[in-house]
């Protein structure tokens, strides 16, 4: 089956889900008998989340983005672009075991605008309270907390640390996942497996896109929760279906002459370890990851971050540190021009930097918080992958000032 057919199939599934949900919305209680309705509580649920963000950097030599799905980022002028978003979610509970969920999010993304995207659209079946299967469009969970990284209100910092989450450009897949929980000792062991096909594209420089649709995603993770601890190991693999537009960009036959620059059919692997220690009012998050690229078009990288926070009343100050570093690829053989171009393109995915960030979350009232944060990015001048529109005078150093108002309803 080719990518187009998979896409079409994905659209049919989404249409069916949207239809089911809208029918449910028109006729909330349906023909269900009244006692059933009472037992199940409210069948139709409507929720939303949003962030009004305001941020700027002190540097016009590179643009700071939240993640690499954003085609442009912050300059030294205040902007609401990178962090502002709104999401709406409808859920319909058919019975105790079956639920449908549709979520639409508007944020600044690869199209260079805020056009809404269907970020979740699935049917969830829980055969019993310890297991669940979901089918449809699912948010990706390459790393711990990654599937809720757009929900500012659920998170402590203004945005998930870009050194760590920035390279995650796949936000959702059309596929299936399954999860199971088992008590082990005094704790709980949770496992999850997922697979699907990406319908997304990534924006590159100069208005070029990388069509990632048809990429196969397979992954899973194991969580152990005991007392204040939650520990997770996970792995996700992605097999890209289409090459980067590097031949079009350069006018050279790069993928032909330097085959290691082709990403098609090669697996990229994301390994991660996450630890959360949550002993209120103190909380610590620690995450480590390694990205092992299947091709030389991208550099292999390692990243990590730690955030410590201490809640005092309605205010939670936090301090964090994140780090990312990638390894240069070396090219030998092949014609010199193509080789030099491949080396140049590969180096444009280089990162070598760390960031200190300090800030506070203030819970203003139920369902509303205000955050302020400063990020000090310190890297080498060659650390360009996490940014957009670097100039030759980029020195790897930048300070970012951010404010965010997050809400849920």
């Amino acid at each position: 089956m080719n990518g187009k057919n998979k896409m079409k199939q994905g659209h049919h599934l989404l249409t069916a889900l949207a239809l089911a949900l809208s029918m449910a919305a028109v006729n909330p209680a349906g023909a269900a008998d009244q006692s059933q309705e009472d037992v199940a509580g409210h069948r139709l649920s409507l929720h939303g989340f949003g962030t009004l963000g305001l941020a700027r950097s002190d540097d016009d030599d590179a643009q700071f983005v939240r993640d690499l799905s954003q085609p442009s980022g912050l300059t030294s002028r205040w902007s609401t672009k990178v962090d502002s978003m709104i999401g709406l979610q409808a859920g319909y509970r058919f019975n105790d075991k079956l639920e449908g969920v549709l979520q639409v999010v508007s944020r600044y993304h690869s199209e260079g605008n805020f056009s809404p995207e269907v970020s979740w659209a699935f049917l969830r079946y829980d055969p019993d309270p310890t297991a669940s299967v979901r089918i449809g469009r699912l948010g990706t969970e390459f790393y711990m907390l990654a599937d809720s990284r757009l929900v500012g209100y659920a998170n402590l910092t203004v945005r998930p640390p870009p050194d760590y989450f920035g390279p995650l450009v796949l936000s959702y897949i059309d596929g299936i996942d399954g999860a199971k929980s088992v008590p082990v000792g005094n704790g709980l062991l949770r496992g999850k497996l997922f697979t699907g096909v990406s319908p997304e594209k990534m924006s590159l420089s100069d208005g070029l896109y990388w069509n990632m649709s048809g990429s196969l995603v397979v992954g899973g993770h194991l969580d152990y929760l005991t007392g204040p601890w939650q520990i997770r190991i996970g792995q996700t693999r992605v097999r890209f279906d289409k090459d980067l537009p590097i031949n079009e960009y350069t006018g050279l036959d790069i993928t032909g002459q330097v085959p290691e620059m082709s990403v098609v059919g090669k697996w990229t692997r994301y390994d991660s370890l996450g630890v959360v220690y949550d002993n209120s009012p103190f909380q610590l998050q620690l995450m480590l990851s390694r990205i092992d690229q299947g091709s030389a078009a991208f550099e292999d990288s390692r990243a990590g971050y730690a955030i410590a926070s201490y809640r005092t009343g309605n205010v939670t100050p936090f301090l964090g540190y994140s780090r990312t570093k990638s390894d240069a690829n070396h090219f030998n053989s092949t014609p010199p021009l193509e080789q030099a171009t491949a080396a140049f393109l590969s180096a444009s995915t280089h990162s070598d930097q760390h960031t200190w960030f300090l800030g506070a979350r203030w819970d203003l009232r139920k369902d509303l918080d205000l955050k302020a944060q400063v990020d000090w990015v310190r890297g080498s001048p060659g650390s360009v992958f996490p940014f957009r529109a670097e100039t030759p005078s980029w020195d790897g150093h930048m300070t970012v000032f951010s404010l965010a108002l997050d809400y849920v309803f």
Partner: protein, 143 residues
């Protein structure tokens, strides 16, 4: 009035409202569902949506006190040492990543007791003196 009496009266005035507000919170289930005791860990798992199966195998259906009730804030303080803003943020993550739903929120204590009596899997928290013969206390929460 002697100084001692005045002191005692003052003490009573300070302690009485406190004793009223800090009445014991107990976790209760349907009296006929066969469960005698639950551990703190299993109550945490049920109310935080991590593992909602009772030892008897039937699905647990947690019920929250209405918003704004002091019992609700005290319960989560005693259970996981979190205030309601943190609990809210916790549920925002789970709701918007399409996982578990938060406990059903009752409109009154009468509704809580009614659910406990009608649903075999219902589990809730109330003040000890609100417990009636239809429910069984399975965990006492210490201050």
């Amino acid at each position: 009035m002697s100084i001692t009496t005045t002191l005692l009266l003052t003490l009573c005035l300070i302690l009485l409202p406190r004793a009223r507000a800090e009445a014991d919170l107990v976790v209760v289930v349907n009296a006929r569902n066969g469960i005698e005791r639950l551990t703190l860990d299993s109550v945490i798992n049920i109310f935080m949506g991590r593992y909602r199966q009772l030892p008897s195998g039937i699905p647990a259906q947690p019920v929250d006190q209405p918003d704004g009730r002091p019992e609700k804030a005290r319960f989560y303080r005693l259970l996981v040492n979190k205030d309601l803003a943190e609990i809210n943020a916790y549920w925002a993550r789970l709701i918007f990543s399409g996982r578990t739903s938060p406990p059903y929120q009752a409109k009154s204590t009468a509704e809580i007791l009614d659910r406990l009596a009608r649903q075999p899997g219902a589990i809730a928290y109330i003040e000890r003196n609100q417990a009636d013969p239809r429910v069984r206390i399975v965990l006492e929460l210490e201050h």
